[in-house]
Symmetry: D2
Subunit: 348 residues, 4 copies
Amino acid sequence: MIKVGIVGGTGYTGVELLRLLAQHPDVKLEVITSRSEADVKVADMYPNLRGHVDLCFSVPDVDVLAACDLVFYATPNGVAMKQVPELLEKGVRIVDLAADFRIKDAQLWSKWYGETHACPQVLNEAVYGLPEMFREQIRAARLVANPGCYPTAVQLGFMPLLKNKLIDETRLIADAKSGVSGAGRSAKVANLLCEVSESFKAYGVSGHRHIPEIKQGLAIVQGSEVGLTFVPHLVPMIRGIEATLYAELNDRGAGMSLDEIHAIYSEAFATEQFVDVLPLGGIPETRSVKGTNTCRMAIFRQEGSNTLIVSSVIDNLVKGAAGQAVQNMNIMFGLPESRGLDQIAVLP
Amino acid sequence: MIKVGIVGGTGYTGVELLRLLAQHPDVKLEVITSRSEADVKVADMYPNLRGHVDLCFSVPDVDVLAACDLVFYATPNGVAMKQVPELLEKGVRIVDLAADFRIKDAQLWSKWYGETHACPQVLNEAVYGLPEMFREQIRAARLVANPGCYPTAVQLGFMPLLKNKLIDETRLIADAKSGVSGAGRSAKVANLLCEVSESFKAYGVSGHRHIPEIKQGLAIVQGSEVGLTFVPHLVPMIRGIEATLYAELNDRGAGMSLDEIHAIYSEAFATEQFVDVLPLGGIPETRSVKGTNTCRMAIFRQEGSNTLIVSSVIDNLVKGAAGQAVQNMNIMFGLPESRGLDQIAVLP
Amino acid sequence: MIKVGIVGGTGYTGVELLRLLAQHPDVKLEVITSRSEADVKVADMYPNLRGHVDLCFSVPDVDVLAACDLVFYATPNGVAMKQVPELLEKGVRIVDLAADFRIKDAQLWSKWYGETHACPQVLNEAVYGLPEMFREQIRAARLVANPGCYPTAVQLGFMPLLKNKLIDETRLIADAKSGVSGAGRSAKVANLLCEVSESFKAYGVSGHRHIPEIKQGLAIVQGSEVGLTFVPHLVPMIRGIEATLYAELNDRGAGMSLDEIHAIYSEAFATEQFVDVLPLGGIPETRSVKGTNTCRMAIFRQEGSNTLIVSSVIDNLVKGAAGQAVQNMNIMFGLPESRGLDQIAVLP
Amino acid sequence: MIKVGIVGGTGYTGVELLRLLAQHPDVKLEVITSRSEADVKVADMYPNLRGHVDLCFSVPDVDVLAACDLVFYATPNGVAMKQVPELLEKGVRIVDLAADFRIKDAQLWSKWYGETHACPQVLNEAVYGLPEMFREQIRAARLVANPGCYPTAVQLGFMPLLKNKLIDETRLIADAKSGVSGAGRSAKVANLLCEVSESFKAYGVSGHRHIPEIKQGLAIVQGSEVGLTFVPHLVPMIRGIEATLYAELNDRGAGMSLDEIHAIYSEAFATEQFVDVLPLGGIPETRSVKGTNTCRMAIFRQEGSNTLIVSSVIDNLVKGAAGQAVQNMNIMFGLPESRGLDQIAVLP
């Protein structure tokens, strides 16, 4: 049994981790910390866990965490980087669900996250936890930086095009849409039902923190810098991300039929358990992956156009957060990658 | 392995059965029939089942069904009663998720369902599949009539009060609210998102088919006729039923403290795995049981009032349909009652 | 032109008042106060008002308010009672949309609102602003206590039954459901989309502040105390209240046909522009009154039962708050009662 | 008073026309036709119109329609083209809210709408009813082709860029999102609340009928063909369209600051009552235009990028259908353009 701790478990990624770990056959949940909710029973805060999780939240305690094999950080950005070095030293392995270790360039990180990085020396060691890109590195990692939600959907969608050099990589466009849970569980007027229900809008249009993260990942796939316009939108629903990706086919790509490009996509993810490429003609819906760790995608091309279109959907709290974190844990501890991640989406 | 067939699997109870059975360790799904969708892959219609269910819908065939140990009927009312006698004769056990066998009085059934009952002789044999009432009879049953969604929430909520003779049973009131999936998957203007979203209304106020079903069950608990006013409402959400029950405490009940009545409720369901009585002060939310087989309830009393209030919630498609059907199957085949029913609600 | 001021206009009742008053042909909006948003343009906070309202929020100033003919208080409970006496003295007429002047008994008020009443001497003068009950008193009133949202729907629904002595008034039941806007615009986790969407629950079941308000009003209609059980519920939608009312017909009522009782309802509201009794068989939907000042209702009786059922719907922010306040203003200033209140609900 | 008829008034654009025309001070509604609902009171089908519209639906009758000054066609595509020539001959002016007269090239129309055009000779006379492009022609038109919902939001958003030659017009991208009412009121499983709520997806990705309409309009603005990729998406809400537009700035455009481009947008729509360009930094929400005839937009540019981003929102049933039709009527009959169109969005 893997002894697991969770730091900062009161948010939506925290409760989602609990849902997944509570039924993971190889995990023993040792501790879940929350300063503000210390001594509150987890199941009192999240009644769906009644009968499944008996733990109380507790005040963070390094010694207790140090006794774990793995600690998940489900804290706001900027917390993990102040605590992780000490835990690493004590031999604990870490998966950080926040953004602290996602960007390799500490200065770039500071620019987007508004504070100096607390442990730039650790950045190099951190492995970006997108298994479809870095599975081998994750296996041995002491510290995994779990990808952001949008970056997961966008990078997976562009990957085969870049890897196969089919597109003009300088002008990628990603028009992404997310359910409201992506904004977390904090008490903000902007996320009240009465503010976001029955409405739709873009946000962060002038620049969003996920841009440097996506560009960093895609540059690795491409082997050189990429140009990207990324616009997120808020959908009046709880869970789900859909990213519609637009890329101009280069001569090589334009010379291929859609069937051929589809074959490349299918091939690219043939051995991936959590990426499902739909047959041509299919359109992914976010509800088809709700509560599951699947990224489902499809590709399209309009008549007389050289633009390839990809639609990629995930559950932002699962493949976009807690599920991918568990997938990373499974890889780190040599378990089958889908252990504890075989839920079927509840539909309707 | 129990060899299982599903007749009429294209509706919402059908897909929910598939979701539950696909991961049930003791079930082998042999056949799922649908005349209109014959040869369509189940996973093409319900993309959440991609990778989990490989079956195609097929035209109903008695011989194929007769080779099953158990057949679930997830058909509209009036279908099962025409086919079940033949299957019973061939030794197949049946759980009917429709209303054909719920009401013992064939004339009363005809009055509410608008046609003559096709096999009144079988009605007596059918066991009403509310395990919390009829577990022993279910164990041996050849034919189980799976309860309606509202009747499940309402009967479980009133049971301890009636069994312990705490209330005036002649004037029960049940004000119930259901998500839209209760209306099924048929193409009706009334259930379009644009018709039911951002609105709330009562329906069937002058009389609803679930009234005779609830009264029949409660009369058995009480040992005599009960009086019931039942008003269902439509909630702009997909899943979930909440029933707020009002009962006038009789002298015996009025003499008890709320703590004492709460103790009676806790005791009544102490050994039930799928009924969760909240501590006093708690309020059940439908989302806490979404996708699960739990009925969660709480009791209340307002100052200076002799009215006991119960709030009871279920997922109409699980404890109110497919989940309870699987629970009944587990009982019928001697399996642990919660086998395949240990999902945690996805929240938020 | 009536010179109007609004105190505390940043909440949902405030913006709704602005929407209605901005197009009221006899109103000149002089000032809208908000300490926290002082100098912010109203239309920057509420973009639907761009091009319709040019005012900025301003710090409250007694002299500016004193120059108004009428001041609406759209403040949290407990604010108006501290300021109203001074404005009354200066000759300003007041409509308070909060609860400060709704309950005549200062001690009862304190019990439910948790503080001592600041001006009990003014309570007697305040007129309860339900025009269908107190139109004449409102005409001359200096201070109108605008009713609560639930009390409006519930009192209007029970009125004809009590006035005509058709029911047992000692055991009224009101099962009410409200959209989330009833909880206001404050930043609370409990009202986040992710917390209330796709779920349904009761709340305040052990006792809600609107109980004494409803009982006070119904007692006046009945001529004696009434007994009431009132349970509110939260509906995953923005606007709308539906109240399902249950009353036991007494001998007189039980002797009447539903047609006769319907005639009594129609007669009771025949001259009321904002109460619409549906023909028998009709069922009111909250969406049919969204954005309008209408209370729409219907009555029902189930076979073999002596319980009369009323379903009554309003828009909680209009007839349940800002619209009724404007209706009261129209009455106070001798205008046609529907002036500025002739909107048609946007449907779908 | 303008004598107005509506053909095919049972759909969502029909009821929206009724809502707007019922309160239009210069309109007398003479007739509303529906074969299937003949003799049904309009207000029985749409309870929001109780007390506002007394008409019944009636069987279409050419003589009755011929007595009108203006007839709105709110019929499915392909109906108006078969009837309009006769009415034109009788001197009736027409606004067709369907697609029959939007595309000048009858062959292109046939390709996308799947049937031969019934009156290609009339196509030339029809004026495309986007007032911000063709106001003068609309004034004198006998037949106005009311634009599609997506084309309205997309064309208005791109107009200033093309008119001022700021972008590469060969690779425009429009990622558009619509509420479900855009799919109309027909009974289809795909539009049930349980199918579209809590989910998000693209649709029509391989090619949508609005592409040729948008390209035709933009080509007129540009003075030459444009290249366009257009992808619509379905948002789980009732009303509203948001279109996020991406265009590559050409040398001229790239040389301008965002302030300068913003000034061009403000100038372009300075005299337009129904186009509202937000100050830089603002982001349009669909709810801010719900129920109103406004198109609200904002522009953006990300650091280091030459892509200009426009976000443009409308209410698909108002500026995208019925409201724009009334705006066209006002222009055709010499009325102030905003007559009957001054509603304020209901928010929240």
